[in-house]
Amino acid sequence: MARKQSLWCYTIAGWSGFYVMLVELLSGRLIAPSFGSSIYVWGSVIFVFMLGLAIGYLFGGIFSRYSPSLLRLCGILVAAAIATLPTLFFGTQFLDFMFDKITDPRFGSLLTCLGLFLVPTIFAGMVSPYAIRILVKNRESSGHDAGYLYFISTIGSSLGTLLTAFYLVLLFEVNTILLAAIGISVAVGGLGALANYRKV
């Protein structure tokens, strides 16, 4: 049973890594029509995702102290997905609003990124420390568990980057890719919750 739970932890962390890099790459595409694709636009994107992940690690660690469960881990993954939905439905309007309000493309892109992507990235950042809390059964294996989880999560991130940049944008529209990724997050989170419901 513990092994099954571990498998879900790795799956969720791996997909979360994939998801966050997919969204990061696509965020550059979403912002380019309003603020360009200059170095400061990518600077804004990377800053916001790093900041979000940093805050997420902090919150995930704190949150893991209170009744940690796989069900809640699934909830974090689904929350990251749902927090991306506003980008899908109101992203263009928000970009137009920011474009009209802020003429400096540096701060325009920075504040737009903060508005659209900080919250989902915080949730995505919470996944790894929270999953480690569930995985770790004793002090001796904690480093090994954490290392293995970061391995899976970062492999997910690297695949998310490569597949999105090389193939997904060639085949699908940005919003289609985002919607599919959100759907997969909800599916993974939902299935994980169902499979482990009795062990809560």
Binding site: A32, S34, V169, T176
Partner: protein
């Protein structure tokens, strides 16, 4: 930092088959925020390149002792835009390079307002230092992203009589400046029958998508095609008498263009409206613009 290097024939011996001629000198190189910029000189010809010593293409070149002559076919082909409007009052140019086209238009039409947009400040600096680019009182240089400029300019209703798109990075045109939405924003900045002139490539899988996207926004256009392809159209589509008027304007403009090393014998036969792309190709949009990926694939 300026460096002067002489490329010796040893490069060839090392297998650098694409290496430039032995006489080519590197006058300047710098790493800007966006790219490496090289300035080379080969005899009387000075060029700006983004890759060196194995260039994929030259961005801009000028003859030092005959600076008015346009060396590249594509720069000559872009001047065919004047056949549709022989006296533009307001021109927008996106992409500075060595300042060849802005300089030519400024000299031909000193009273015309020319707005020039360049993303990379270093390109502007190199153009001024090595390519004798001197904007006159009616030329304004804006250092910013072309898409952002175009989108923001719409609020002022600038009514450009002519828009020339020539923004390239080391690979191709930036992806956000190839989409339907971008071209619609460009059209919104143009006078009702303003002229659009766009420098593109013609040999990759992108060609069909790019052609179809331009046709969606601008309707039928002249497709001037050699190694590069110049799209020459109007906001609102070509008029039925555009070809006849082009012939008349060509005669008037001939003295002006011959000074630039081009003319109607070269340009008029290129004014084709033949649709040689798949009109059902998927349109490039802000949602779907894998342009650089498509540009790396061969055309079917």
């Amino acid at each position: 930092m300026k460096r002067i290097l002489t490329i010796v024939a040893a490069f060839c011996a090392l297998g650098f088959t694409a290496a430039p001629a032995a006489a080519q000198q590197l006058l300047h190189q710098e790493r800007s925020l966006y790219r490496n910029i090289f300035v080379t000189q080969d005899g009387d010809e000075r060029c700006m390149l983004f890759r060196w010593p194995r260039p994929l293409g030259r961005e801009s070149c000028r003859m030092l002792h005959n600076p008015e002559k346009l060396i590249f076919d594509y720069t000559q082909m872009m001047l065919a835009g004047l056949y549709l409007d022989p006296s533009p009052k307001r021109i927008l140019i996106i992409g500075e390079g060595g300042g060849t086209i802005p300089t030519a238009l400024q000299e031909m039409f000193p009273a015309t307002q020319i707005d020039l947009v360049e993303l990379d400040k270093a390109i502007d600096g190199v153009a001024r230092t090595y390519f004798d680019f001197k904007p006159g009182p009616n030329m304004h240089v804006f250092i910013e992203d072309g898409r952002v400029y175009v989108k923001r300019a719409a609020a002022q209703k600038p009514n450009y009589d002519m828009v020339m798109l020539d923004a390239f990075d080391a690979d191709y045109i930036p992806e956000h400046m190839l989409t339907r939405e971008f071209l619609e924003e460009v059209r919104a900045d143009m006078a009702p029958h303003g002229v659009i002139v766009a420098n593109t490539f013609s040999d990759s899988a992108l060609y069909d998508h790019e052609s179809a996207t331009y046709a969606t926004v601008f309707g039928p256009y002249f497709n001037l095609k050699l190694a590069n392809r110049i799209i020459l159209g109007r906001a609102g589509g070509l008029a039925p008498d555009d070809l006849a008027n082009a012939r008349k304007n060509a005669a008037t403009l001939e003295p002006m263009l011959s000074k630039r090393g081009t003319g109607s014998d070269f340009l008029l036969p290129l004014l084709s409206t033949k649709v040689d792309w798949d009109p059902n190709s998927r349109i490039l949009t802000d949602q779907y613009s894998p342009s650089n990926l498509l540009n790396a694939l061969p055309r079917r």
